[in-house]
Symmetry: C2
Subunit: 376 residues, 2 copies
Amino acid sequence: MPPAVRVAKGLDDAIVGTSAITYVGGETGELVYRGYGIRELVPGLPYESMVHLLLEGTPPDRDPSPEVVRRLGAHRTVPEALGRTIDALPRDLAPMEALRTILSAIGDGSFGYPPSRDDGFRLIARTPLALARFVRRARGLDPVPLRSELSHAAHFLWSLTGELPAPEKIAALEGYLDLLADHGMNASTFALRVAISTQSDLVSAATAAFGTLKGPVHGGAPSRVADMLDAIGTPDRAEEWIAARLAEKQVLYGFGHRVYKTDDPRGLLLHRIARGVADPQRLRLAEEVERVALAALRAAKPGARLFTNVEFYSAVVLEAVGLPRTLFTPTFAVARTAGWAAHALEQATDNRLIRPEIEYTGPAAGLRWPRPVLRP
Amino acid sequence: MPPAVRVAKGLDDAIVGTSAITYVGGETGELVYRGYGIRELVPGLPYESMVHLLLEGTPPDRDPSPEVVRRLGAHRTVPEALGRTIDALPRDLAPMEALRTILSAIGDGSFGYPPSRDDGFRLIARTPLALARFVRRARGLDPVPLRSELSHAAHFLWSLTGELPAPEKIAALEGYLDLLADHGMNASTFALRVAISTQSDLVSAATAAFGTLKGPVHGGAPSRVADMLDAIGTPDRAEEWIAARLAEKQVLYGFGHRVYKTDDPRGLLLHRIARGVADPQRLRLAEEVERVALAALRAAKPGARLFTNVEFYSAVVLEAVGLPRTLFTPTFAVARTAGWAAHALEQATDNRLIRPEIEYTGPAAGLRWPRPVLRP
């Protein structure tokens, strides 16, 4: 082993391995899944085909992937034991808080090491169903009957509401799920790979990933974009509101990204999707807020390469699809289960314990306890 | 940001930051908590004083730390909602599988960012209690009445069995908890720090850590040491059994460590503790297996610096304390909640999103989907 090198504490400057799943071009604004640029695929690619691409590495023979349709369908159930645990959770728990426990409870002792593709399908199929069961119960509603003929995206909405929205809303959610399905070595995926590196199982690793996604710096801000739009109210108030906010050194949600130093390609596509489904007034408000915020941010920090991030139009799209704000980040997690499964499979193919070094900066060894330690 | 450097995929050669909590001297066999060598503290230091040292950075005024006794005592409860979730889990779930969900369910929505010391005390106090409730229920038993006068170590055993073992057994468990309370930037603590780096909460981060600890390469092998001792049976069979095992290229559990290239100081102290509490016959078997295994491993790999690791005598001690094998790794997690709390507090004091780079090795961008993607 070569002598240790110090890397930035955010690991920004450390290349920690290789991955053949997703290329994130931070300078060029590219997002490439297994060689396919997302502009080639979204909107329009069924999520089942996206799952196929991420897990298998190649496109299916048909769209939606017949194999993934079949295998997700086989796991489109909430086993009784899982249902009991979900139903025991406090009804007033925030869905993000509940989903961590629900994800963990999907682990029934049968997820082992190495993770299998079928483990991945189970995780992807059950996460939205189990979440929907919790959400309905919190509203005092029974689970809906399962419908095997519905797509993954449509079934998620069905399982939440017992209704099917207009096809363009389902398609909008599908585009969102496709776009958020993976994103290289982001923090939650890194946590997942650290967990798999100890030969832990997929559910444990996905729960680790979820605990990481839960932080607002990673997954927790899209609902605050919607709150911000509400607070601004109308396009003519954007200028004043944003100036006041920046004067108070407050954060504007939906702007800036660790990796993208240009437009986030997901944001551009979500904007396009939003144009098709969002309430026109809400869309105009969002567009004006975006314009004013970018101008103000760039004026405040000349030279900083600040762009709209994925969260901004995620909020507009998820709202247009009919999801409540408390489900924005849980829906991000539902999308990302595909990427987590793909990364777990990849990590296990050439695994090694991830255990970095740290520099100890505490007191030098040799301090004496201030009184005798009682020897038993 | 300087240009990115490639680090080993196990991050063995990457120093990812600084920490004032624990120094692990892999070459010298040292383990130092906040300047205090563990030989100075163990056996004998009450776990409450160890928690104080790890979280506050300095020793308490008295042992056991009055403040920690009081604050752990205040959280020595299983809130009703948590109890309901625990009681809903399948009784036949392995405790390690259950504990992930239980840890997550400790999160009731009130753990925020930044983590507080009180969050840490809640986590440390409730984890063993909640685990014990599950374990008793799996055996068809009600929870025991809480006893505020008992130490953390004694209460853990009390809450599992409703009995108090001999004082030397409680002291042996206390020594184990002290020795396993923290260990620098191990994989689970790293996962916890990745989670906190997104401004996630302590329960989410501890659940991430636990999902990482669950892998046998990190936390999952002590029960297999006990299984190995059983399989060997008597000291005279050690030579033959180990030779056969190595001839089949099978792993011997309890030997070798990523960091220690000499005796693991925890193992030496656990061996000493074992001498005081283990059944003399079992201890002799363990000592003979250790002697034979080290000789055989070193003969098989001349030059490799292979030593007994912490798991070997952990198994002997935990068994002597009366814990079943299914609780060995959960008890490790119970001990480690102190270190997790300390690292979460430290990470939050100077936080930055941990998001490394990865080299994309998949197909170059520009592939065309084999058929038109249906635009909605």
